[in-house]
């Protein structure tokens, strides 16, 4: 077990390294100049050059990468060119914001998806199956950023029930009270649409698959009650469902940019958007790297959890 764990973690190392190189390459492929973001538009060349030197942007790209890597390894992601604040701090706040709505969205997606998918899997071809199928179809088909717009108009402008944008009062420090939840609700619901669709779908097919397995007949033949059988089904579905859910949370974190743009939610996506348009290299690299690391770490965790839950996995 322990060895398996270490092995899995070691496998992640080259991936993270590859991600960092790719990120760096991507950022430097980009046209445009981060200095434009800080120097006034009409700044003379000498000012711009001086700034470039002060940010180390005049050096060859591989050298810049190595410098950046060295610093990153010690946890220092550099300083945002545009704001001058440490990237780490910027990302930390944004990340916690995104995480909070992603968690709510996952919660919504997971609970709804489990319920709908599970029931649909058990009662295939029933009306509830059809409803679940429809919901999952809508979930995976709707352009969620558009839905976000529609929801804002309905719930915050027409009905005035929920705020339209932002993360709520004094969101520098973070609370899980009603005042803040109000703000999270709309973005989180919008965000939950896709995972709900996908989880419903997956849970349904996983449950249906398990129900069609031979051992289920065997369980019935043992004279177990439906409830006891359900326990077996859930326990068997869990590792697979977990994988789906984990992937979805990762996607939520990485794919929040559209929703955060619509709701002006001060999360990583929002920050990413700004960083892209300002060509704020350190910030851009930092965000992409952190999000990928999160994703890799999440996958790792899921893998490990799965191997705990399903004794067959570690073997292979």
């Amino acid at each position: 077990m322990f060895l398996y764990l270490i092995k899995r973690i070691l496998f992640a190392v080259p991936i993270v390294l590859g991600v960092s190189i790719l990120t760096f390459a991507l950022v430097f492929m980009a046209p445009g100049d981060p200095i434009s973001a800080i120097a006034p538009a009409d700044a003379p060349d000498e000012v711009v050059q001086a700034l470039k030197v002060s940010y180390g942007l005049d050096r060859p790209v591989p050298v810049q990468y190595l410098m950046w890597l060295k610093k990153s390894l010690s946890g220092d992601l550099g300083v945002s060119i545009a704001s001058g604040r440490p990237v780490r701090g910027e990302i930390a706040t944004a990340f916690s914001h995104t995480l909070s709505i992603a968690l709510i969205a996952s919660f919504i997606g997971v609970s709804l998806g489990f319920l709908l998918g599970g029931v649909a899997g058990f009662y295939q071809n029933s009306w509830i199956d059809r409803v679940a199928t429809l919901i999952s179809l809508i979930g995976i088909s709707v352009p969620h950023y558009w839905l976000g717009l529609v929801l804002t108009i309905v719930f915050s402008v027409w009905l005035g029930w929920l705020p339209a944008m932002g993360a709520g009062p004094d969101s520098g420090t973070f609370y899980w009270d009603f005042e803040h939840l109000k703000f999270m609700l709309l973005p989180a619901i919008t965000m939950a649409v896709i995972p709900t669709g996908i989880i419903t779908r997956s849970v349904k097919s996983i449950v249906a698959d398990i129900l069609s397995r031979e051992f289920l007949v065997s369980l019935k033949a043992r004279g177990l009650t439906d409830l006891a059988i359900l326990k077996h089904v859930i326990r068997n579905a869990l590792p697979m469902v977990l994988a789906v859910v984990g992937l979805q949370i990762g996607y939520l974190m990485g794919g929040s940019i559209l929703i955060e743009t619509v709701f002006s939610w001060p999360g990583t996506g929002f920050l990413l958007n700004i960083a892209i348009f300002q060509r704020d290299f350190p910030l851009l690299q930092g965000i992409v790297l952190i999000l990928c690391m999160f994703f890799v770490a999440l996958n790792l965790m899921i893998d490990i959890l799965q191997s705990v839950l399903d004794p067959r996995i570690m073997r292979s």
């Binding site: 060895l3 398996y4 270490i6 092995k7 070691l10």
Partner: protein
């Protein structure tokens, strides 16, 4: 209209009439297994562990042994689907080890194989006619000719081409699919056919049909068979000579008649006695082996069978060689306790 297969696919006899068609000498094959990251020594599955035998032209050699003893691996080594680690393989006077490209292609033409799983050995997207015709086209036969040949062969294995030619494998029963497999192998007009558990998955009545077909083919075309099975009765029924394998090694090797009459190796004995037989037989006492076959990863030293052997003695800590059995000239056994004569190298 008729097509002569000889034109294109018949090869001359290379080895000479009295030469064995296949000579195998000290064949080894092991598979590395992916160990954990930090374990220093690499582990191996010793699938084929020093196997030697000869196969004469027109002879049928049976191979029996428990699951995992390396039968399929042996078959794949002979057919060139796997590369051996060491040892010699001489087919029709030519070393198989050194073969590449065209000569390997020609070897394969003369040495065909029928697999165990009749389902997975047919491409579900090809009609059976296409499946049979595929091989000859690879050897330069024209499409139409190959198709015609396929139709002939279907008839030969007892399937009406009008009826079956255009079907997909999923539309055939197991027995029919196995006939198609045989027809496909025959399409090359091979000298030798390896049958790896080719009848194991079939129902008894269908199995009988296929066995009859095989015997018919053998009589007709002087085919040489290597017949692999774990069903002793079937192997006995069809083969002239027999190999009993245990953990990648030959433990007994000789004319099947003699082995069946009186097996020498304790493992063979146990194997024979565990055959449930519905017609009361010659009162062989049941020897029920305890435990499962050991796994081929950590091979025991000495006699590989000693842990399960009811007669194991101290001497079994030394690995037994294949020895000739008195008074025969073509019957070997690898057991210290059997009445064996001299060592075969």
């Amino acid at each position: 209209m008729s097509v002569s297969q000889t034109n294109i696919l018949q090869d001359p006899d290379l080895g000479g009439a009295n030469q064995p068609l296949l000579i195998i000498d000290q064949l080894y094959k092991r598979f590395p297994i992916k160990g954990l990251l930090f374990s220093k020594e690499k582990k191996y599955v010793h699938a084929v562990n020093g196997v030697s035998f000869e196969l004469k032209k027109g002879e049928t050699l049976g191979v029996v042994g428990e699951s995992g003893c390396g039968k399929s691996t042996l078959a794949k080594l002979i057919s060139g689907l796997l590369k051996n680690d060491s040892g010699d393989l001489i087919f029709d006077g030519q070393g198989v080890n050194e073969m590449r490209g065209i000569s390997l292609k020609n070897l394969r033409k003369n040495l065909q194989m029928v697999f165990q799983d009749s389902y997975s050995s047919l491409n579900p997207r090809l009609t059976i006619e296409e499946a049979i015709a595929f091989g000859p086209t690879m050897h330069g036969m024209k499409k139409e000719d190959a198709r015609e040949l396929a139709i002939q062969l279907l008839g030969r294995v007892g399937l009406d081409a009008n009826h079956f030619g255009n079907r997909y494998p999923s539309e055939l029963s197991g027995g029919q699919r196995q006939r198609v497999n045989i027809a496909r192998a025959l399409a090359f007009n091979p000298k030798m056919l390896i049958l790896d558990e080719s009848v194991a998955a079939l129902d008894k009545s269908v199995q009988a049909q296929i066995l009859n077909l095989l015997i018919e083919l053998k009589k007709e075309s002087q085919l040489t068979f290597l017949f692999i099975s774990h069903d002793l009765q079937v192997v006995n029924y069809i083969s002239d000579r027999l190999i009993v394998m245990y953990l990648g090694q030959i433990v007994e090797y000789g004319p099947s008649q003699k082995i069946f009459e009186q097996p020498r190796h304790p493992y063979t004995k146990a194997l024979f006695s565990s055959v449930p037989e519905y017609k009361k037989k010659n009162g062989v006492e049941k020897i029920i082996l305890s435990g499962d076959p050991p796994n081929p990863i950590d091979l025991p030293s000495g006699c590989k069978f000693k842990e399960r052997c009811p007669h194991a003695k101290d001497i079994c800590a030394v690995e037994p060689k294949l020895n000739l059995v008195e008074p025969y000239q073509d019957y070997w056994v690898a057991c210290h306790l059997a009445h064996a004569q001299k060592t075969l190298d």
